[in-house]
Every structure is written in structure tokens, then in C-alpha cells.
């Protein structure tokens, strides 16, 4: 359901309004306006849409950016309990709060900080670390850790132990990780 929305000059509060009608329908409560022309039953629908205040998907310019997602009350029809569970999972996955941890690298003069919530997986995190510290960490394997590379990423968990990054599921890691330390390969081999 795409309509052109002008973001340039206005806050476009309309786009965030919660209402009963469908996104893309106009100002008046669209519940009053969703009467379509009653076409003959066999009429081809692709031609008769101008009188409807509900725009059919696909009939507008595909290049315009999609509007902010308006939510129709009670749609999709899932139980509030399930809806709340999904929203809680999303919240726990960290939308908005940020989770900054210190990152130290052996030999570097100062520490850095990164927001773990920004990443969705280990490869993303490792790539970010490689970019930040200009080094290569290499591939993780369950058996060998980061063997074969000069550096090994480790983290301090809730119990105060130093663990190798990559062993536990990502979600669990984000919850347990207190700080990161990029160890030099020679030292790291002790862990594996």
C-alpha cells in the first residue's frame, strides 16, 4: 500500500497515527470511505480503482519510499498474548537501548567501545572488529577456534571468565558479554 508521503517539510504525524482504517486511506476515518463502486460481479478489477479511497498495492509509483508503517487496530488478527510475546522478544533483542562494551586489543594504546546490539551475528561483529582495529581475525571453527589467524577475539562473561567468541549462540553471547579483548594469536592458542 504505497502513497507518496511528504517528509521534507512536515513531521508527518499522520503517518504515525493509529487508526482503524487502512494505511493510505485519507483523513476522514476511512471506515466511512471504504465503500467501493459496486461493479458488476464479473468486472475486471484492475481498471476500477479511482473511486476507492483505498489504493491497491502496486498501482502507485514504485519508486517512492514506503511510508512509515501505519498500524491498523487489531490487524493482523493475532491474540494479544502472542503479540506481546513478539514485541517483548524484539525488545530483548535490543531495539533502542544500545549495549556498549569495551574492546581492548593487545598492544593498542587505548580501548574502544562498540554497541553489541547493532550486530545480528558473529560474522558481522568480527568484521566490525577487523575494520576498527585494522587486522584479520579469520574463520571460527568449533574444533580449532581461530587457529591459523594472528588474533583471537575473547570476551569476559558474567562469571568473570574469559571465553572464546563464537562458542555460544549469538543471543546468549550478547546477554553474557561484559567486555571484549582481542588477544594476540600466540597467547590465544592457550585457550583453544
Amino acid at each position: 500500500m504505497e502513497t507518496r508521503v511528504n517528509y521534507k517539510n512536515e513531521l508527518n504525524l499522520m503517518a504515525t497515527e493509529l487508526r482503524l482504517g487502512l494505511p493510505g486511506s485519507d483523513d476522514k476515518p476511512s471506515i466511512r470511505n471504504n465503500k467501493r463502486n459496486s461493479p458488476d460481479i464479473s468486472e475486471d478489477y484492475s481498471s476500477s480503482k479511482s473511486s476507492s479511497s483505498i489504493t491497491m498495492p502496486g498501482d502507485d509509483d514504485q519508486d517512492s519510499p514506503p511510508p512509515a508503517k501505519e498500524q491498523v487496530v487489531g490487524w493482523p488478527p493475532i491474540r494479544s498474548y502472542r503479540r506481546n510475546c513478539i514485541q517483548n522478544t524484539k525488545k530483548n533483542k535490543g531495539e533502542g537501548t544500545g549495549m556498549y562494551v569495551k574492546v581492548s586489543m593487545d598492544g593498542a594504546p587505548y580501548l574502544r567501545k562498540i554497541d553489541l546490539r547493532v550486530y545480528k551475528s558473529y560474522p558481522q561483529l568480527l568484521k566490525a572488529l577487523e575494520t576498527m582495529f585494522k587486522l584479520t581475525i579469520g574463520e571460527y571453527s568449533e574444533r580449532e577456534g581461530y587457529n591459523g589467524s594472528d588474533y583471537a577475539p575473547t570476551y569476559e562473561d558474567k562469571d568473570g571468565d574469559w571465553m572464546l567468541v563464537g562458542d555460544v549462540p549469538w543471543e546468549m553471547f550478547v546477554c553474557c558479554c561484559k567486555r571484549l579483548r582481542i588477544m594476540k594469536g600466540s597467547e590465544a592458542r592457550g585457550i583453544v
Partner: protein, 572 residues
Amino acid sequence: MNYFPDEVLEHVFDFITSHKDRNSVSLVCKSWYKIEKYSRQRVFIGNCYSISPERLIARFPGLKSLTLKGKPHFADFNLVPDDWGGFLYPWIKAMARSRIGLEELRLKRMVVSDESLELLSKSFPNFKSLVLVSCEGFTTDGLAAVAANCRLLRELDLQENEVEDHRGHWLSCFPENCTSLVLLNFACLKGEINLASLERLVARSPNLKSLRLNRAVPFDTLQRLLMRAPQLVDLGTGSYVHDPYSEAYNKLKAAIQSCNSIRSLSGFLEVAPRCMSAVYPVCENLTFLNLSYAAGLQSIELTKLIQYCRKLQRLWILDCIGDKGLGVVASTCKELQELRVFPSDPFDAGNAAVTEEGLVLVSAGCPKLNSLLYFCQQMTNAALITVAKNCTNFIRFRLCILDPIKPDPVTNQPLDEGFGAIVRSCKGLKRLSLSGLLTDQVFYYIGMHAKQLEMLSIAFAGDSDKGMLYVLNGCKKLRKLEIRDCPFGDAALLEDMGKYETMRSLWMSSCEVTLGACKTLAKKMPSLNVEIINESEQTEFNLEDRQKVDKMYLYRTVVGHRKDAPEFVWLL
């Protein structure tokens, strides 16, 4: 019939268990009515306002098992304000006062207060089974009262309720001599649980067959519980996150292997995908698998698991399984009867991972399929026509396209023909939910062919009153009709007012129905309660008859207006 002494008739009636049949029996003659009345133990009340507690008790004084449903179905989707009604307390109070020997209570969409739970726990010494589905209004304190006072409790089943959690001491309230538990489901509780109490409780419940844990029960507790209850038939895990190389994980693997009675598996509210392999041994005998809350599992893990589930009859899953994953279901689960695919990202319509393809695959591979709930990105007429050809046994068919008025993306046509094929082919269809772009034509087909239809849910569909009329005229067995955001108005509402006496209820919101028409209906049909839910500031006196009502809910009743309606509900 008068030749038989009452006791013989009563014994014969014992074999008649269906509510419908017992209702019929009571209409035969006065003496049958009387015998049936005193011997009736189970009563089902689909709308708690259709009758009063006092009349129920007078009618069936021997009542032992009561099922009550409160709020209209659309309350599940936030369309009904809190405090609308559906209070349990008056029922408990009346049954307690009349010394009803209540043993079982099953509630759906009711408001259950701690006070009512406490009164229940103290008033019925033989109380055995409490099932609460989609209810609210209580806290863990109410559960504590039930645990402490219901000495013979066998079942405590909490399904998807909103419970205020005052922490986990309620479990400790089960007395040490309580050993009768058969079913314990507290998966919907959000708070901490006293794990030691839980372990002791399970240890002293040799008859425990069904155990569903909440998120607060960790992996290692699960392992210990399974060691104590290898006889479990139905298991719902809590948190299922652990290091797959640990000792605890190996112990769990061993524990699960000794549970060879498990036929039903659910939970995984938090899950580490790599730990799923411990569950594989259980899969080959599973008949019900519910992974619809396991947001941490991706398609690849889901399909790996499902490949072992050859005997599966019911599957509830998230749409991240994808069309390909549904293909695996189709080729593995030949006994499948019920499929529910839920959206993992419901508010982003562009993201649903299943389309019409997945459904077609399942319909082709699972000929026994008779019940469907399917949230998807899109649907085509061709797909629905194919599904209708492959599966003629549908009893329940609920399709939800996340974008509510989306046409067939291939032809840009409405989905009338697709749904038409479904109702034409599935002669036993009892429940139908529609979505997508739909005109009056689909209702024409429904009225013409859906002769067994009992419940119909419509949203954002139709062009005119004709649509609603096709349904009201054609569906002779219709009991529940719920409509939102459709252009149906007064003419359709008032055409056949007597029809509503044959139905349980009608819900219409954001349609074209005016206050005047609702008033007319209420006046002409005293056997119906016509309720208007008005959440704006306008009082009844300001709203003119020709103005449209936001939400109307009408239902048949034998007790007239209810006394507990809040201010925003107008009883016409």
C-alpha cells in the same frame, strides 16, 4: 417410554454425551426433561450473557463441569475495550451459594479475579480441573489459593492468559500431600518460579502426564524434571538454552531418551538451535508439535527437526519455516491434520516468509489436512483452487494475508474465485476466515455452497449489503458472524431479524450500520441484546440515529439486558 423406571432412563442417558443430543433428549417429553435435567453434569455456555448463573443452576442442579465463554472473539485482537464484561465472580458466587458440586471449570475470554479464584478454591471440595484460555484479571495470588485449597486438583491449565506475576511462591502452596496432579501448564506466566518447589511437586505427582513450563525454568531444571517424570505424554519446555558440549546437555539427552511416552511437544520459549538434536529421539512418535513461540529457530533447524516427525498430526509453527520448509512438512508428515503458521514479524507486511507456494505443497502432500490457520505474504486464486482440489476435508479454513486487501498478485484479481473453490469443494466446512481483496461475489459463493458453515470472520471485504445478505440467507447453520471494516449497512442488518435468534452472536465494527437501525432491531427483537460500544466522548443523547456506530455486538439471550455493562457500552 413410560414403561422404564427413571433409573434405567438415566443410565441410558449416561451414554449420551454430546450437548446437542442431550438438548434434544430433554425436549422429548416432561419426564425425559426431568430425568435429563437432574442427570446432566456437563454444560457448555458459549456466551456467558445468554443466561444467568441462577437460571443455569435451577435448570441443571447436578452440574459438575461448566464451560463458559465471555468476550466476543474480536476481543482477542484488541477490538473490545477492557472492562467490557465477562466476569467470572457472579458465577462462582451463585454456584457456591447453591452448593453446586463443581468439579471442572473451563473458561475462555473471561475476566477472572483473584477473589473469584479464592472463592472457587474454598467452595467446591471436589474441584479437579481448571482450564483458563485467553483470560485476564488474576494474579499468581489467585493461583496460590487454588493450589493451596483444591485438595483433589488434577488439572491446572493456563493457556495464553495475561497474568500479573507476584513471583513464584504459588507453586509452594501445593500441600505436601497433594499427589493428584495430572496436568500442569504455566507456560504463560512471565515471572520467576520457585524451582525447588517445582521439582518436589513433580516428584510427588506420579500421575503427571502433561507439564508445560514457563521461560523462567532453565535447562538444567528441565533435565531434573524429566528424570522424575519419564511418564510424561505432553511436554512444554521453558528456556532451552545451553552449551551443547556441557555435561548438563548430555544429561538432558539421556533424560529425554528415557521419556518414551512423549507425544506432544511445545515451548522452546528461548532456544539455542544447536541443542535441538537432543529432542530428535522424541520426534518419531510425536503427534503434536508447537514451535510457534520458538522465535530463535530458523528454517534450517525447523526442517531438520520435522524430518523426524513422521507421525505428526498437528503442527503449529512460525512462518520463518518458509515455503521450502513447508515442502519438507509435506513430504514427511503424511498424517498431518492441522497446520497453523503464525507470523514472526506481523507488523511488517513485506516480510512474511511464506506464500501461496507453501500452502499448495502442504495440500498436495498431506491429504488428511482438515484444519488450517495460515498467515502469509500473498495468495493466488490458482493456489486456492489447487488446495481445494487436493484437500476436500477442511473443517476449519482460516487464511490471513498480512496485507488485508491484497489481490491475487499474479492476475490482480480479487480472491473471490479461490475462496469460492474452497467452499464448493469442502462440503464439511464449519469455520472460515477470509482475507485479501474480496467483492460481493465471494459471499455469493459462500451463501450458495457453505451449507455447514457455523462461524465466519470477515474483514475489509465486500462492496454492498448484498454481500452480507448472501451469507445470512444462504448459511443455514451459521452461529457466529463477525465483520469489521466492510461496507454492510442497515438494509443488510434489518432484512431478516429473525435470523439472529438462530445464531449465537453477530459482531459488526467499522461498517455502515447506523444507530437508528440498531435501535429498530433492539425494539423488534426482545430476545436479542444489542450492544453498542462507543469509545468516543459522545453520550447516547448526542448521537443521532442516522450516525454510524463504531462497534455493535448482538447476541441472543433469555435473560434480557445484563446488569454489569460499563459506561461505554449502550444496551439498546
